[in-house]
């Protein structure tokens, strides 16, 4: 509620905050759905990218409508950089998983249970 009220404030911005947030939420849900439904690890990684980008969108939107300088944009850049690094590490992990389990099916890598 509070957030929507902020978004409703008039200013030199096009569109409303809630439309950005809705897009961001859709992106987030798509990412989440990908992670929860796909069995292939690569898809899961892509899902996480979507979620990260949904977050980036939020950062930018709130900065824009919240009257901040460029804080959100800076944070979004850090996230992008972080995501690249994360992808590199994650892909290395995927390679190890494939090497150990002979598959990259997530449902079959349940040795965390032990």
């Amino acid at each position: 509620m509070n957030l929507l009220a902020v978004a409703a404030e008039p200013g030199a911005v096009s569109g409303s905050l809630s439309s950005y947030l809705i897009v961001s939420a859709i992106l987030f849900l798509l990412g989440l759905a990908t992670i929860l439904t796909r069995r292939n690890v690569l898809y899961v990684l892509m899902g996480t990218e979507l979620i990260l980008n949904a977050a980036n969108l939020n950062f930018v939107a709130f900065t824009r409508f919240g009257g901040y300088e460029l804080d959100g944009q800076m944070m979004a850049l850090v996230v992008v950089m972080l995501a690249a690094a994360e992808a590199a590490v994650a892909l290395a992990i995927v390679l190890r998983i494939f090497h150990d389990f002979g598959s990259i099916d997530m449902t079959r890598t349940d040795s965390l249970r032990d």
């Binding site: 989440l32 992670i35 929860l36 997530m106 890598t109 965390l112 249970r113």
Partner: protein
């Protein structure tokens, strides 16, 4: 003579007063005296058979060591610086051992030396040494030779312990231990018929007295709160009686009556141990044991323990208790002597003689002749053990105990004959022999007692005088029938021979003491001339002091009576001895009178005496069946009533346990099982969530976040 001379000589040489500190010597001799024989007994029991000569040398070394210790003590205390009232208590110098400490009950054990215990220990060790050597000859070749010496050593342990302890309860413990020693040694020939029976009889008869003795000790402890001799007498003299609580069995009794009762009960222990009427029946039967045992235990030491104990507790006895002791002693002296007249077994004659002499000692103590009674105890030990060993020597030679099988042995066995004769003269109380000095003191004291009281109090003196006549008669009967006259059995006579030196030498030693044991050879001595009278003095009566009684007769009156009685008593004794000797000579040596005719004249009397006054028949025919009937009734009661109660209690306990078991099984166990089930079930459910699949965790995380979000939104 000799000892007094030594005493004077040493005193004259400037031996000085009592030395600074001889605690170590007194203590170690006291302990060594009974621990050394114990060590010897234990060694012989376990290793006797493996040792050369059956280990008899161990026992002999042990007892000679003890004798040396006791003689050292005797020299130190009595000769070097002997004063009549000397005593040394290990408790007084802090050398006492706590035995029992239970709340208020505190019992410590220590060594107590006074002139009496030193003399007693010396007598026991010297007599024992003689007998240990004699036994080596007498028991030679016996199958159980090592066991015999083990038992003898054990007995010496118990006997010497009895002498040196400082309290009544320890005395009682050793008292029982000597009883066990006596039991073991009477029944030594366990494969024959009589000895086991006799040993059991001795043990059982002694139990009767010992139970009463223990009761007396308990009353003493209850009343004075201590059992150490010196403390008992101190408390009693001060008149500190602990009052019995209301409702106590003896609460109604006055102090005087209680003390008398306790004294008589304590004396009851001596009645059985020292073979006084009516508990004397075990002593003649005890002769079934080996002869050295009869000499050591049933003549010299153990039976004298009762007299020693009465001497120890002397200040404790009230005048009434002493009267009781005097009467029992007088009856025993006469009854024993009469039975000695008619026996044909050489050992039985000596056994009844012992009983009679023990009666004399008790009589002496009872009539106030403390010194006389105890002196007789010491001299009697020497000459009676000499007589028994002499009879052992004779039995060894002719293989019979019946004096009708003997005769004329004087020529064959001169050493045995002469030692036996000396001991006989000492026993009869012939002037100049040891027994004369002690026995005549008893007779004189009993006469003085009669003179200073009313007519009824003449009884001990009359009994003692008649007993003296009989003693001489039966002893000379024994001597004449055994050693004089013609051999009754030529075959036995031909095979008889003098005993080997190991047996003859102890006889000579003992006979020497029987001859010189009085310490003087003056036939008309003053009492002050006798070594024993110089060293032992009558203790003041704590009972009279504690109860505040008047002394009767007064000291002055008593002194006067004693003085007046001295020569008349000597005269009466002398006439009695002479008559006894002449009668024995007439009947058994010159055969002028036929013994059978004499017994026929005293028909009914002879009958009664021959049947030992029917004591055994009374016990076996009336007392024992009665007791057995009582026992059966008690056994029935025990089986049916007591066991019934016990079983009922058992049943009750079992029922309660059964219910408790059910509770345990279903409630307690149920609770435990429930928690187990609960945890298992819960974990089974929760385990389902742990799939190990990252996606599932994510899903759950999501659900959690959603729940959190909804919660926050609801805020």
């Amino acid at each position: 003579m000799s000892i007094l001379a030594l005493q004077h000589a040493v005193a004259g040489a400037g031996a000085g007063p009592v030395p600074v500190d001889e605690t170590g010597a007194f203590l170690s001799i006291g302990l060594g005296l009974f621990l050394v024989p114990l060590l010897s007994a234990v060694t012989l029991i376990f290793f006797g058979r493996k040792l050369p000569r059956g280990g008899d040398w161990i026992a002999q070394t042990a007892i000679v060591t003890c004798a040396v210790g006791a003689l050292t003590m005797f020299w130190k205390v009595l000769v070097q610086h002997g004063t009549p009232g000397w005593s040394w208590s290990s408790a007084a110098v802090g050398q006492a051992w706590d035995w029992i400490a239970l709340g208020g009950f505190h019992l410590s054990v220590g060594i107590y030396w006074d002139n009496l215990s030193v003399i007693m220990a010396t007598m026991v060790t010297v007599v024992s040494s003689c007998i240990f050597f004699f036994s080596a000859g007498y028991m030679h070749g016996d199958r159980d030779y090592p066991r015999f010496f083990a038992y003898l050593s054990y007995f010496c342990f118990a006997m010497l312990g009895l002498v040196v302890v400082d309290n009544l309860l320890m005395l009682f413990v050793f008292w029982e231990l000597v009883g066990v020693g006596s039991y073991l040694l009477i029944g030594f020939f366990y494969d024959q018929e009589d000895p086991p029976k006799a040993s059991l009889k001795a043990f059982m008869v002694n139990r009767v007295g010992d139970v009463l003795f223990l009761l007396g000790i308990i009353i003493c402890w209850r009343t004075f709160g201590t059992l150490r001799y010196s403390e008992i007498f101190a408390t009693l003299s001060a008149g500190h009686f602990t009052e019995l609580p209301v409702g106590h069995a003896f609460a109604g009794l006055s102090h005087h009556a209680l003390l008398t009762l306790s004294g008589i009960l304590i004396f009851c222990g001596a009645i059985s141990k020292s073979a006084q009427v009516p508990l004397h029946t075990w002593l003649p039967d005890a002769m079934a044991g080996p002869t050295p045992v009869s000499a050591l235990i049933h003549a010299a030491t153990m039976v004298a323990a009762g007299v020693f104990m009465v001497g120890r507790m002397y200040p404790y006895f009230t005048p009434e208790a002493l009267n009781f002791i005097a009467v029992v002693g007088a009856i025993t002296a006469l009854v024993g002597a009469t039975m000695g007249l008619v026996m044909w077994d050489i050992k039985k004659v000596l056994a009844y003689s012992t009983m009679s002499q023990l009666g004399y000692m008790m009589l002496g103590l009872g009539v106030g002749g403390y010194v006389a009674g105890l002196f007789h105890l010491i001299t009697h030990a020497f000459f009676k053990s000499c007589l028994f060993l002499g009879s052992g020597s004779v039995i060894h030679a002719v293989h019979s105990q019946d004096i009708r099988d003997m005769g004329g042995l004087k020529r064959k066995m001169p050493v045995t004959y002469w030692t036996f004769l000396i001991a006989t003269l000492a026993l009869a109380g012939v002037p100049c022999f040891a027994g004369y000095y002690s026995k005549d003191q008893i007779v004189a004291t009993s006469l003085a007692w009669g003179m200073s009281h009313d007519a009824a109090h003449w009884m001990p003196f009359v009994f003692a005088a008649v007993g003296a006549f009989m003693t001489t008669f039966y002893m000379f009967r024994l001597v004449f029938l055994t050693f004089h006259g013609k051999p009754a059995d030529q075959h036995r006579f031909d095979h008889a021979h003098e005993s080997p030196p190991v047996m003859a030498l102890p006889l000579v030693v003992l006979a020497t003491v029987a001859l010189f044991g009085g310490g003087t050879l003056n036939p008309l001595p003053h009492n002050e001339e006798l070594w024993f009278n110089r060293l032992v003095e009558q203790p003041a009566s704590a009972a009279i002091a504690g109860l505040g009684l008047e002394v009767h007769p007064t000291a002055e009156h008593w002194e006067h009576a004693m003085h007046a009685a001295h020569y008349p008593a000597l005269g009466v004794s002398f006439i009695a001895i002479l008559l006894g000797f002449l009668l024995a000579r007439r009947m058994y040596l010159t055969k002028a009178t036929d013994p059978a005719a004499v017994s026929a004249r005293f028909g009914p009397m002879h009958e009664i005496i021959s049947h030992k006054y029917y004591f055994d028949d009374l016990y076996n025919g009336v007392l024992i069946p009665g007791l057995q009937r009582l026992n059966r009734a008690l056994a029935w009661f025990d089986r049916n009533v007591i066991d019934g109660i016990v079983n009922l209690v058992g049943l009750l306990a079992r029922s309660i346990a059964f219910v408790a078991g059910l509770f345990d099984k279903y409630v307690i166990d149920g609770l435990v099982n429930f928690w187990r089930w609960f945890v298992r079930t819960l974990s089974a459910v929760l385990r389902l969530t742990q799939t190990g699949n990252v996606r599932d965790y994510l899903t759950l995380t999501l659900i959690g976040v959603l729940i959190l979000a909804m919660y926050l939104a609801a805020e």
